[in-house]
């Protein structure tokens, strides 16, 4: 899922300082960022309380509304927000970067601000802990590496083996980071499939990533023949 982290409250306050409004709508998103505990209903409520106190301390009279939709990345759910958005001066979204942009597109006359940083695509690795697993390169190679992605898990996205900076299973970038190639090696050893990492891997065609420009996915079955 998409993992997000709420922006620092000072950063959010500084963002709001630049705007002129007396009515604020904080919107949460009920899907990915709810799981990473950054932008769901709970976080919307908590942020609303903090901001209410902040505005009070500044002697500012701001009415705060709250609304969490199932997915900010789908117009179907944004339609439900029409009344709230109409009655507000400013939207602060706790959705991911996709949600913020989708709100701005659906409500072109309103200022929409981001309340969180979109971190990465990750998995739950521990209670309250999520870790990056995919960069969305657009051409999955997990078959070639038996379930550990060198592009997402190696700091240098190396396709032909570890760099000289791998020591004791850790990455040269940070001892907190597992060496992606150690993980690949351990996995193929376990599966007795070392041969998958002995062959030469060609340079990747990055056109399916950002390097082909902004991407679009069209579900052909929607459009018949």
């Amino acid at each position: 899922m998409i993992v997000g982290e709420q922006k620092n409250i000072d950063e959010i306050a500084a963002m709001l300082e630049k705007e002129d409004f007396d009515n604020l709508l904080i919107t949460g998103c009920g899907t990915c960022v709810t799981v990473s505990m950054a932008g769901g209903e709970r976080e919307v409520n908590a942020l609303a309380e903090i901001l209410q106190a902040y505005f009070a301390s500044k002697n500012k009279n701001v009415k705060i509304q709250k609304a969490t939709v199932k997915r900010q990345c789908d117009f179907e759910f944004l339609d439900d927000l029409e009344n709230e958005v109409d009655s507000t001066g400013l939207v602060l979204s706790l959705g991911c970067g996709v949600g913020v942009q989708h709100l701005a597109e659906r409500f072109p006359d309103k200022v929409v601000l981001p309340g969180l940083n979109t971190s990465f695509y990750g998995a739950v690795t521990n209670t309250g802990e999520l870790a990056e697993r995919c960069i969305g390169c657009g051409n999955c190679v997990l078959d070639e590496y038996h379930g550990v992605c060198p592009i997402a898990r190696c700091s240098k996205s190396l396709l032909n083996g570890p760099c000289g900076g791998s020591q004791d299973g850790k990455c040269e970038v940070d001892p907190e980071i597992d060496c992606g190639w150690q993980l690949i090696y351990d996995r193929v050893k376990r599966l007795n499939k070392l041969e998958v990492v002995t062959g030469y891997h060609e340079p990747k065609d990055w056109q399916t990533y950002r390097d082909g420009g902004p991407r679009k996915h069209v579900n052909k079955e929607y459009f018949g023949n």
């Binding site: 190396l158 396709l159 032909n160 570890p162 970038v173 340079p203």
Partner: protein, 307 residues
Amino acid sequence: MPEIKSLLKKRLEAGQFVVCSELGPPIGADPEFIREKARRLKGYVDATNVTDNQTAIVRMSSIAAARIAADEGLEMIIQVTARDRNRIGIQSDILGASSLGLRNVLCLTGDHQVFGMDKGAKNVFDLDSVQLIKTVHDMVHEGVLLNGKEMEVPPQMFIGGAANPFADPFEMQMLKMIKKVEAGVEFFQTQAIYNIEKFEYWMEEVRKLGLHKKSYILAGILPTRSVKALKMMKKHVAGMDVPDEVIARMEAAGDKKKEGVKMAVETIERVKQIEGVRGVHLMPVAWEEITPVVVEEAGLYPRPEVE
């Protein structure tokens, strides 16, 4: 125009035990800095590497500095890392370097940018070191670019790569070394050796795989005079193995400079005995002036002639 050939390659083909050194370019645009360093090395070494923004710190370009030093009469090895340039930039640089008469290249992945002063830089790593070696090999020996385009005048390069006997996972590192050989590497320069036993064991594995017969292996030697530097390398330099005994020995030494030279000379003498080691690569950090001293003390001076 007379044809320029790699003298390093000639020496290795002639069976000489070669001596390479390293020259760190300045953070600045002073060519005299390079000339002065080059003049001090002349006659003592067979080829000199110029690092490519080593540890991700911005310095004068490897190719430019190498050309300046070559004009002082040194045989140069340019370094190319995959960190800062994509396949377009790298191939362009190889063409440029060759056209400037530079004939040796060391192909590296490159230290991650977190080691330098531009931690916020966007890294590239479009190619990895194996792909980089293959790309240069195909340019030189097949006359084609990575995209298949043929060149009328291909570049000429003697192609090197790095090998780290001390990095993990050991078996995977070996597999990568095999891949480099298959991709067309002609010589290896190894990570600096402080753990000689581990290096000997590694060379044993290299010989078992026959890699010493398919490439020239040059052992990395890093003379140092400082306990602090040894501790720093042990802790912070990617892929370095500095045993505690080495640090203790330096701590106990009265004359640290003398001890540093002695340790380097002992390592050279030891690796010289190892079958398959075809030379040494001296890379003192912030102590480049010691290179001629180490070469002399190790009995490697004067350097033999080359045709």
